[in-house]
Structure formats: C-alpha cells, structure tokens
C-alpha cells in the first residue's frame, strides 16, 4: 500500500519539483559562487577585469545549467552515463591528437565556442559511468574478476590519456573519483589494502619514472627552503600569504602577497591562498564550513535517495569533492606537493566549474527526484 502511493506520485509537477529542491545546498552553492566572485575581483586588483567578468559569466551560465539539470529526471542522467563517459574519452583522445598546448602540457581542446579541458570533466563523468556500471550489479558479482577488470579499465583508460598530456595531478584525481565509486560499490576491503600496500612499495620506482619537473615538485615539497627562489617559491610564498593573514586576515583587497604578485597562479590553484590572506583564519573556517555543508548535503541527498545509482553517485561525488578540496588546500598549505588541482567553484577555470556544476546538477536532480526508482 505504502509502495503503491509512492508509485502513483512518481511523476512530479513543476512546483512540486521546486518544493523538493535542497535549498540549503543551493544557497551554499550560490554563497560559494558569490565568494569566488569577490575573490576573483580581488585577484584582478580590485577592478572588474577579465577574470572577474569571465568567472561571473561562467558562474551564471553553469548555475543556470545546474538548475535546469535538477528538473530533469535522474533516470535520464542514469541513461546518459555511458554515453557521457565515451564522449569525454573521445574528447581526451581528441585532446591528445589536436589539443592546445599551454605551459608544457596538452590539456585543452578547442571546441570552437569554448576551450575545454576534458580531463576536468572526466573527474565527474567517471563517477556517473561507474555508478551506472554498479547500479544493477548484485553484491556477489561486485568482487568478480570481470567486474574488477572492467571497472579498472574504465578508470585506467582516461587516466592514461590524461597522464600523457602530461597532467599527473588530474589523472590521480580521476583515479580517486573512480576508486571512490569502487569503494562505495562494495569492492572487497582487501583490494584497497593491497592497492595501498602496492602503492607504498612501488613508490620509489614510481618516483624513478617521474618526469624531472614532477620529481622536483616532490623534492620541493619535502624541503621548500632548499631553493626558495626556484621550485620552492610557490609553496613558500603561499605559506607566507596564508600565515600572514592571521586570525581576521588583511582585509578585502588588501592581500599584499597577491597584489604585489608574490603569489603564483593566484586565479586558479592558489585562489584559497589569496582568500585566506585577506580573510584570515575566520574567513577560511567559514569557507570550509560552507564546503562541509555542501558535502554534508550531498551525502544526505544520497542517503535519502531511493535509487542505488543516485545513492552511489552522491556518496562518490561527495567524497570526490571532498578530496578535491582537501588536496587543493593541503597543497597550498604545504601539506602535499604541488599538483595541479583547482578548488571547486572558487578557482578560475571553466571546465572545472562545468564539471562541478554538472555534479551538483545530478545531485540536485537526485534530490528533486529522490523517490525515483531506476529499473
């Protein structure tokens, strides 16, 4: 009987969908967007210049896109799962063949109206794809050789395509997104333990195969003061910026480290440094709280979803976003070596924002259609 009523209310009206919206998540995303705009304004030196304008446009377009996405039934997103993955893999191949090279790596592809970084999209679409892959799978089949091999291929294929760009950081993040799905799908613990062990053991050999600049990054991370004007410069300046922010920060538009161009990559990977310099520990904590709320809402939406696909997607997406945030922050705070990893929404960069917003869109859709069962 209970089930029956649910089945009858399967199709939701427009206003009902509105009612089903997760407004806390939406407000947090908008707040984050606003903060990112203000920070971008600051990186432009307190003027509305290219980065601010561009960031605003992207933010507006992609937020709208996210809202539209949330009205579309989750089952369509489910059905698009494999296609999206294949398309992005195609784009990655395209990038490999005729991508745009910038600062030593071929990461972008010109799609005539936009320069896209498919590796960023892959961070999300690999979750969609694997979530679909595991959706209907029985638990006893999850740990079969076939499943594991297939899922590994799904992960390793784009990873390989990203590594050759070369962009180790993003490749690792793609892998982490994929592994998150495997984790939630119920792959046996022992595989994770073996993988971690295997990774630790092979680390020295991996380092031996790293490219010189990657090796330098690791060495620099271990001792940034060794070459303060060379490789260690970014970490040192970033730490100085964050540390000099103090409890309340230097004030909006008053971050000397960024204004005077001591900060590297302040629009993208190091945006948190600038924010932290200007708004201090309190501001950074507030930003973290916003992120925590977002992740919490994503997980909560997952928990309240009836479909396994939505659940596994939300959990994995939540975990992935969490990892993106912590890796970026650990990097700028000197806890991890510098790997190119943007801070979701905050960092300048269309592809990253597009990917994140698509993720949010699917999560929103899962929330709006949380009673939707996917056959």
């Amino acid at each position: 009987m209970y089930q029956h009523t649910r089945l009858t209310t399967n199709r939701l009206g427009f206003f009902q969908k509105f009612k089903n919206f997760d407004y806390i998540l939406l407000i947090c995303i908008l707040l984050l967007g606003f903060i990112s705009l203000a920070t971008m304004y600051s990186t432009d030196g307190g003027e509305i210049k290219f980065h601010t304008k561009s960031h605003f446009t992207k933010l507006a377009v992609f937020t709208l896109m996210m809202l539209v996405m949330s009205f579309i039934n989750i089952k369509y997103w489910f059905s698009l799962g494999y296609l999206a993955y294949v398309v992005v893999v195609g784009l990655l191949v395209g990038t490999y063949l005729f991508g745009i090279t910038s600062s030593g790596s071929q990461r972008w592809i010109n799609l005539y109206f936009i320069n896209l970084q498919p590796s960023e999209l892959m961070k999300i679409f690999i979750i969609v794809c694997l979530a679909k892959f595991f959706h209907r799978m029985k638990l006893e089949n999850v740990n079969s050789i076939y499943t594991i091999l297939t899922s590994l291929i799904i992960i390793l294929l784009p990873m390989g395509l990203v590594i050759v760009q070369p962009d180790l950081g993003t490749a690792v993040l793609i892998a982490i997104s994929g592994i998150a799905v495997l984790w939630f799908a119920g792959i046996n613990y022992k595989y994770f333990i073996y993988t971690i062990l295997g990774f630790v053991i092979s680390l020295p050999f991996v380092i031996a195969f790293l490219k010189p600049y990657q090796k330098l990054r690791v060495l620099t991370f271990l001792n940034p003061d060794k070459d303060p004007l060379g490789a260690g410069y970014q970490i040192i300046q970033s730490k100085i910026a964050v540390g000099s922010g103090g409890i309340f920060g230097k004030g909006f538009l008053k971050g000397t480290q960024s204004y005077l161009e001591f900060l590297p990559e302040k629009h993208t990977d190091f945006i948190f440094t600038l924010f932290s310099e200007e708004f201090g520990f309190v501001g950074s904590a507030i930003l973290l709280v916003i992120y925590v709320i977002i992740i919490y809402r994503i997980v909560a939406i997952g928990a309240s979803s009836r479909s396994y696909f939505a659940k596994i997607f939300c959990y994995s997406f939540g975990a992935a976003i969490f990892v993106f945030i912590t890796i970026n922050m650990s990097m700028v705070l000197g806890l991890l070596p510098i790997v190119g990893s943007p801070l979701p929404i905050m960092s300048y960069g269309g592809s990253s924002m597009l990917a994140t917003m698509i993720g949010f869109g699917i999560v929103m859709s899962a929330r709006v259609h949380n009673q939707q069962l996917i056959a």
């Binding site: 119920g186 730490k239 540390g243 922010g245 409890i247 000397t256 005077l260 396994y308 705070l333």
Partner: protein, 624 residues
C-alpha cells in the same frame, strides 16, 4: 523479487557502512586541514607576517647630510652645497639611445665619460637610477632644464654635497671627503650602517677622525615593492638626522694669513692659546684644494699633487719630524736651571768654536760671542754656551725636561692617526733602538737641537705655550665641543720645580727678540700691545763640511734641498702672554730672516683678533 530486494538490502547495508567509514575519515582529514590553518594563521602568524613584510617592503636609504665644520666664529669652513645632478631611470626612457646621445651633446661629455655612463647603465636594473652626472655647472644644469621637453625620463636633481669654501686653507686640518671604499665600510661602524652607493666619507684629517659624529643618519624611504622589485607605493619617509656640526677653535683669519705667509713655501705654522690649549691656526704648506676630491679627483690633478716635491699630501704640522735647532735652547736652558747645573751668573767664553772629546764644535758666529751668560747666550743663540751646559747637564736630564714640556709625544693623542711622536733621545733609547752606547758628543749637539732629536711643529708650539704660561701643563685641542668632557686631571699642573727658572727663560727669550743683538731683533714690535718674545732656530738638514764652512755660502747659493730649515717659536703679548706660535719653513735658510718676520705679521693679527675672540663670551671657554 525477494532475492533482488534482499540483495538491495545487503547493498544498502554495505554502502551505508562504507559511507560511515568515509564520513569518519573526512572528519579527521577536515580536522587536519583546520589545525594546519590554525597553525599557520594563528600560531605562526607573526613569523609569516614578518616574512610577508620582508617580501613587500623594501627600504631605500638616501645619503645622510654630513655635519659641518665651523670655525670659532661660526664661519662655515666645511659645509654642504647643492650639487646639480642628472639622473636617468632607463626604464622610463622610451628611446634610451636617443636620450643618452642627446645628453652627451648637451653635457659635452668626453668619450671616456660617456663610456663610463653606458657601463654603469648595464650594471643596474632598468628601474634603478642611473647617475649621468653628479656635479653639473649651473650653466649645463639650466641648459638641460631647457631641453627637458625632449628628454623623457631625465631628471635634474639637486643633491647635497660637501663643499670647502676656503679651499686650500684648511686642507690638512679638516681633510676631505671622497667616495667610501670597502676599507672605510669595514673599518667604521657608522659608515657600514649608513652606507649608500656614492656615500662620501672623510678620508683624512678631522673629517676622518669625527666620521661617526659627522655622518648623520640616512633618510629612509620605505616602498612597497612587487615580486619583481618594482616600487609600487611609498609607505613612509623617515627623515634622517644631519650629522653633528663641529665648531673648531680655529680662527679663519689667522689661518688664511698663515696660508698666505707660507705661499710657495714648504712649511708649517701653528698658533695656540697658551692657557686653554685652543689651536687658533694650524697650517701646513703647500696645500691643495680639497674640493677636488669630493667627486673623485682627476688623474692629472692627482699626479700633480702627488709628484709635487714640496709634498702637499704631508701634514707638516703633525707629520713633519724636524730637528728643532736653536728653538730647543729654552728647554735646554730651563733644564740646566732646574737641575741646578747653571745659574744666571754662569758664563762661557765663546770663541766661535770649541774642542770637546776630540771633535770641533762650531758656533754659528765664526768670530764667537766672547763671554756669555745664559741670558746673552739665549739672546744671541750662542751655540758654544749651549754645548757647554748640555755637556754638564747630560742628555737624560735634558730629555726628561723636554718630555715634560710635550716633546717626543703626540700632542693630540688619538685625534689624528697620522700624527708623529718626534724623538727625544736619551741613553736608554739609543741602547734599545740602535743597540749602541750614547756618545757624549751626541749630547753636545742635542743641546742645540741637532742630532737624533726630532720634533713636530705642533710640539714646538706646545712647548713654547707651556713656557709662556708660566710652566703649566695644557692640552691642545681643536674642537670646541670636544673639550667639555674628559678633562685631563693633570691639566695646569706645574711642569717646573722652581717658577723663577721659567721667568728667567721667558726673559731670555724676550731679550732675543726685543734687544739689540737679539737674533730676531729685526722682527720685533715695539708697541707693548703686540710685543712678543721668540726664539729663532736654524736646523741643518745635512752636516756642514769644513769646505762649506770656509765658503760661507749665502742661502740662495745653496741648492734648495740642502738649505737649512728656518724655525721660529714665539709667544706674546709679552706683558700678558696669551698666544704661542711656531713657524717652520722648510729649507727657508735662516730662522731670523725667514721665519721670524712671519711671526711679526701673525702676532699683529692674532692680538687684534683676540678681543673679538674674547667678546664671543663663551662660558665654557672662560672656565679656565
């Protein structure tokens, strides 16, 4: 369906369990991030704030304004003037080549100078200042100003620089400044602290001695700079302090007269207040224009000064070791009196020469002076008499008295690092320095200020001053403000055993100038206001051979380097003495004809100036 639903439940259990693990993991990682933030921003905040300021704030030090030298009357004798300079910041120039060639034409730079400028340009960063010219004439400076419209990025600048308005008059006393070199920076803390490129520091003389006081402190401009070192904005301008202005005891008028008197001669004049020890004039000749050194002396000028046979680079007043000649006689006489060797009635018969220890010693007067007492011997500067009393006295007693009166010791202590001690020989000294026993014959010539004995002009002046003031110890000084603290405790302690002896010697010196037959009788002034007493001296620079003695050549017949030095020491006014002086003219021939007439002119001026000096009413000055 049941199967699938039970599978679903299992799946849900599994995913929820794993979500729980993930959640806990996330929690701990988040704690880690927050604590890292807390560590950096709260705990280590100070450290990083300092690092951030170090990053963004850069200081530019500007050259400090150097303290001045004033004479006793407040006239600036080493001051500052506004030098017209031309600065270019290469980065702000659109077409550097055009501008620099244009400047070359306008400033009429030689190819050499031009090359130097280009070389400098290559050594600096494009936003740093290139000094094209550091001391432009007003004509060129205004010419540049007229052409500024097509000289973008060229900045005419007025900067403060050293100036010596009296040119060669004070060169040896004050010294000069010039660009600081590595040695200067390392040896003097104040220079190290205040150093900026192009800083001028004292190289010799008082400029060097009082460097720490004169140098002042930098103006400091604090700029915010960006990561590339470009100035963004000025945060602060901290005005530096001008160096301390030092007032000297010197009277410029007397100094100028000294310079005039010694014109084209090599020698020294110094004048001293016999009670305060204030040095009124101190000049060494020939001198040179210290302004030449301020912006770096040209090679030609330098060679000219360096190769001058009259040695302008030597401060003869302090560095010149001269045989005192007969100017030592007052001390010999005093020593003999003090030691009870002679009294005023003691006479010696002078025949023009005397045989002692198998050697012949000549008096300057061939015919001899006949029977002479102390007063007559001093008056006529009879050598035979002093041979005799020196012989009786012995060199050790003589040297004791001479040292008491300031000979053989640095007059200014550490004030000038170049000052020489002179030499007052005694038996002990010879044994130590030369490893030989003292010969009695050496005592005899020491009695007329020849032989080993060597004195500097300032020592002779001090000696005379201490005889003139009645035999009391004084400490000569040049800087007015300097004498307030650490007054030596033995100031004004008597140097005599019996004050009568000093009177006897003073009277004998008086006779030498103011009585017929006196050696400087022709230079006397009868007016009691100016009347002075002085002792001539003629120091041989080489031993006179028998042949030459027979020839009896006039001064002008002897080659310059072999002529005697002419000396004169004097004090006045005789009735109420206040000033003592010493004059030395190198190779001047004869003390009475060359040196003594200078004293006449000097005393006239000094005593006239005394009233003005007195009227300045410096309390510190009267405390004596």
């Amino acid at each position: 369906m049941i199967n699938s639903s039970s599978d679903n439940v299992k799946k849900l259990n599994s995913i929820n369990r794993r979500m729980f693990i993930t959640g806990s993991l996330k929690f701990f990682i988040m704690i880690g991030i927050v604590s890292r933030l807390f560590f950096l921003q709260v705990k280590e905040n100070k450290k990083y704030l300092t690092l951030s300021d170090k990053n963004r704030i850069r200081e530019w030090k500007l050259a400090p304004v150097r303290g001045e030298f004033h004479d006793y009357f407040g006239n600036v004798i080493a001051g500052n003037f506004e030098a017209y300079q031309l600065h270019v910041i290469p980065e702000q120039v659109e077409d550097f080549r055009y501008v620099i060639y244009r400047l070359k034409d306008l400033l009429e730079l030689s190819d050499n100078e031009f090359k130097k400028v280009l070389k400098k340009k290559n050594e600096i960063k494009p936003w740093e200042t290139l000094i094209v010219s550091d001391n432009l004439s007003w004509q060129k400076f205004s010419k540049i100003n007229n052409h500024l419209y097509d000289l973008n990025g060229v900045k005419p600048v007025i900067s403060i620089s050293r100036n010596y308005p009296f040119k060669e008059n004070f060169t040896h006393l004050i010294g000069y400044v010039s660009q600081a070199n590595q040695d200067d920076i390392e040896s003097t803390q104040a220079i190290k602290k205040n150093f900026v490129p192009g800083l001028k520091v004292g190289k010799v003389g008082l400029e060097k001695t009082f460097e720490e006081k004169l140098i002042g402190t930098n103006d400091i401009e604090r700029y915010e700079v960006n990561a590339y070192g470009r100035r963004i904005s000025q945060l602060e301008f901290q005005k530096g302090e001008k160096g301390k202005t030092l007032r000297l005891t010197i009277d410029t008028e007397v100094q100028k007269l000294a310079n005039e008197l010694l014109k084209d001669k090599a020698g020294s004049i110094c004048v001293m207040d016999i009670y305060t020890g204030a040095v009124v004039a101190m000049h060494s000749s020939p001198s040179f224009d210290p302004n030449l050194f301020v912006f770096g002396i040209s090679q030609d000028d330098w060679q000219l000064i360096r190769n001058d046979p009259m040695k302008p680079l030597v401060n003869k007043t302090l560095q010149g070791n001269y045989s005192p000649g007969s100017t030592i006689k007052p001390i010999v006489a005093l020593s003999a009196l003090e030691n009870g060797i002679v009294n005023t009635n003691f006479t010696v018969r002078c025949t023009g020469k005397t045989e002692m220890y198998g050697q012949t010693y000549h008096c300057w007067k061939k015919k001899g002076h006949g029977y002479v007492s102390l007063r007559n011997a001093m008056k006529q500067s009879c050598d035979t008499y002093f041979y005799e009393i020196a012989r009786k006295l012995g060199v050790d007693k003589l040297s004791e008295t001479a040292k008491k009166f300031g000979l053989g010791e640095k007059v200014f202590g550490n004030l000038f690092d170049i000052e020489k001690k002179g030499l007052i020989p005694n038996t002990q000294w010879k044994k130590n320095a030369l490893g030989k026993g003292w010969l009695l014959g050496e005592t005899i010539i020491t009695g007329i200020g020849q032989g080993y004995i060597q004195t500097t002009p300032i020592q002779l002046c001090l000696m005379t001053a201490q005889i003139a003031n009645g035999g009391y110890k004084i400490y000569p000084h040049i800087v007015v403000d300097d004498k307030v603290k650490d007054q030596p405790t033995d100031k004004f302690t008597p140097l005599y055993k019996n004050s009568k002896n000093i009177k006897i010697v003073q009277d004998a010196i008086f006779g030498s100038t103011n009585e017929v037959m006196g050696t400087s009788y022709r230079s006397r002034i009868d007016n009691p206001k100016y009347q002075f007493a002085g002792k001539t001296g003629t120091a041989q620079v080489k031993k006179i051979t028998e042949e030459e003695r027979e020839l009896d050549l006039k001064t002008f017949q002897i080659p310059y380097e072999q002529r005697d030095h002419a000396l004169y020491v004097a004090f006045g006014p005789y009735k109420n003495p206040r000033y003592a002086l010493s004059v030395i003219v190198e190779h001047g021939g004869n003390g009475s004809t060359t040196a003594a007439p200078m004293a006449t002119k000097l005393f006239k001026l000094i005593i006239d100036r005394h009233k003005i000096r007195e009227s300045l009413g410096n309390k510190k000055y009267l405390e004596i």
